[in-house]
Amino acid sequence: MKNKKEKPNYSPEHIAYLKKEKNKKLIVHLSRVFVLVAVLGVWELFAQLKVINPFITSAPSRVCTTIASLYTDGTLFYHIGITLMETIVGFVLAVVLGYAVAVILWASETVRKVVEPYIVVLNSLPKIALGPLIIIWIGTGYDSIIFMTVLVSIIVCIMNMLAGFIAVDKTKLTLMKSMGAGRMTTLRKLIIPASLPALMNTLKVAVGLAWIGSIMGEYIVSKAGLGYLIVYGGQVFKLDLVMTATFILCLLAGGMYGIIALFEKKVVK
């Protein structure tokens, strides 16, 4: 199937084909960079020329200055660190707990049927509605924000993993049964490895939701973090700060997704 080390003496036709494929890829990459540069360029130009009001729209150069000033007063990495910590802790907790719950639901059909309607309701509930309750019950520290992050992402983790577990090939289940495998053995030898692609998928969805959760949490209650900077910037009309925090958020979220995608490539062949 995989013949990476194919003989290098291709026909000229094949070489032309490979070249064409390579060019296509190059065009896509260059176009991506171009779109980014163009958007930033037009934004900066319009702001410089006062076509748009930079006080309201900010500008790439102003974002850079803001990053620099945050860096010099030493708060840049402080805010990034806090949001990153909340997101990662929430994400990991949601995935681990979600996986565990999914295993329980897989193992017992009765439990699954009992819990199903509750999960559906919790899934459709806008989690932000629980904001006041979370503040009163858990407090105004990081734990509230982490709780919010877990809350936002865990349901999808449970549903995704359960679907992955249930989708495992029935023939393979029959095989395990015919060898006299119990539930635990079936779980270890078959269900967990077979649902690895579902896990990777879950990680990708959950990481996006974890960012939503942590920023939403910071909107409701926080003293620091990127979400805090955005809210604070909005309140005191420092749109540069809002844009800067949003920009950093884009980088972090993209980076984290990238790490997971890379991990997926390593794990799932």
Partner: protein, 241 residues
């Protein structure tokens, strides 16, 4: 050996109950290759599940020798994340018999039947016929006394099917295993078996049993034998098709 003695089996669904097997009796002697044929949907898989002890009969008795049963399914069900070798070790792991000696024996078996160069490959690198052979060696690695074959060739294309059919039969014979095959393919049953048991439509019961002893002990020479066609006709009539 394996004996079905007046077996009844009824299964229950919300829609009602269905008698799948009714007063079924037949015997598989040690070392014998027995095929069960019947109209589709007559409960052939149920019979294998009963033989394996995955299902308990509603009435009657399944007498199994002291050996275990090994199951071979319609599709190979090889685990794609494991290498061929690891797939072959699976029954040992599940049955908690994963000792170096047992593993060595399993590998010997694989080497003996031409899987030496494939041991470290993944199933996706193998042809359909080869995959079924791996599935058979996997079944044999736990050293079962009785092999239960659930239409193991039906998912293969015609050419591969003939090939794998001969292959599986010769491996089972040379390992001196007892085998029970269920199939809807009359010619397959004749070519492979020492005995063919013909079942009725549901509820399944034995219509006729035939000992097959012409054409020597290999499927190829049997297919070439003159009696093949006449036996085929007899079985076809008994199945009512």
């Amino acid at each position: 050996m394996l004996e079905f003695r007046n077996i009844y089996y009824t299964y229950h669904t919300k829609e009602g109950e269905t008698t799948a097997v009714k007063d079924l009796s037949f015997t598989v002697e040690d070392g014998q290759f027995v095929s069960v044929i019947g109209p589709s949907g007559c409960g052939k898989t149920t019979i294998l599940s009963l033989a394996a002890g995955l299902l308990a009969p509603s009435a009657g008795e399944v007498i199994r020798g002291n050996g275990e049963c090994g199951y071979m399914l319609q599709r190979d069900a090889l685990f794609p994340w494991r290498t061929v070798e690891q797939n072959i070790f699976l029954p040992l792991e599940v049955k908690k018999r994963n000792t170096p000696e047992k593993r060595e024996r399993a590998v010997e078996l694989a080497v003996k039947y031409g899987l030496k160069d494939f041991l470290k490959k993944t199933p996706s690198q193998l042809s359909g016929g080869m995959r079924q052979r791996v599935a058979l060696i996997r079944t044999l690695s736990a050293e079962p006394e009785i092999l239960l074959l659930d239409e193991p060739f039906s998912a293969l294309d015609y050419q591969t099917r003939l090939e794998v059919c001969d292959d599986v039969q010769s491996i089972i014979k040379s390992e001196k295993k007892t085998a029970l095959l269920v199939t809807h393919d009359i010619s397959e049953a004749i070519a492979l078996s020492d005995k063919v048991v013909v079942l009725s439509a549901r509820p399944a019961t034995v219509v006729a049993q035939h000992m097959i002893d012409f054409g020597g002990n290999n499927p190829k020479s049997r297919r070439e034998c003159g009696e093949f066609a006449s036996t085929f006709e007899v079985l076809r009539k008994e199945l009512g098709i």
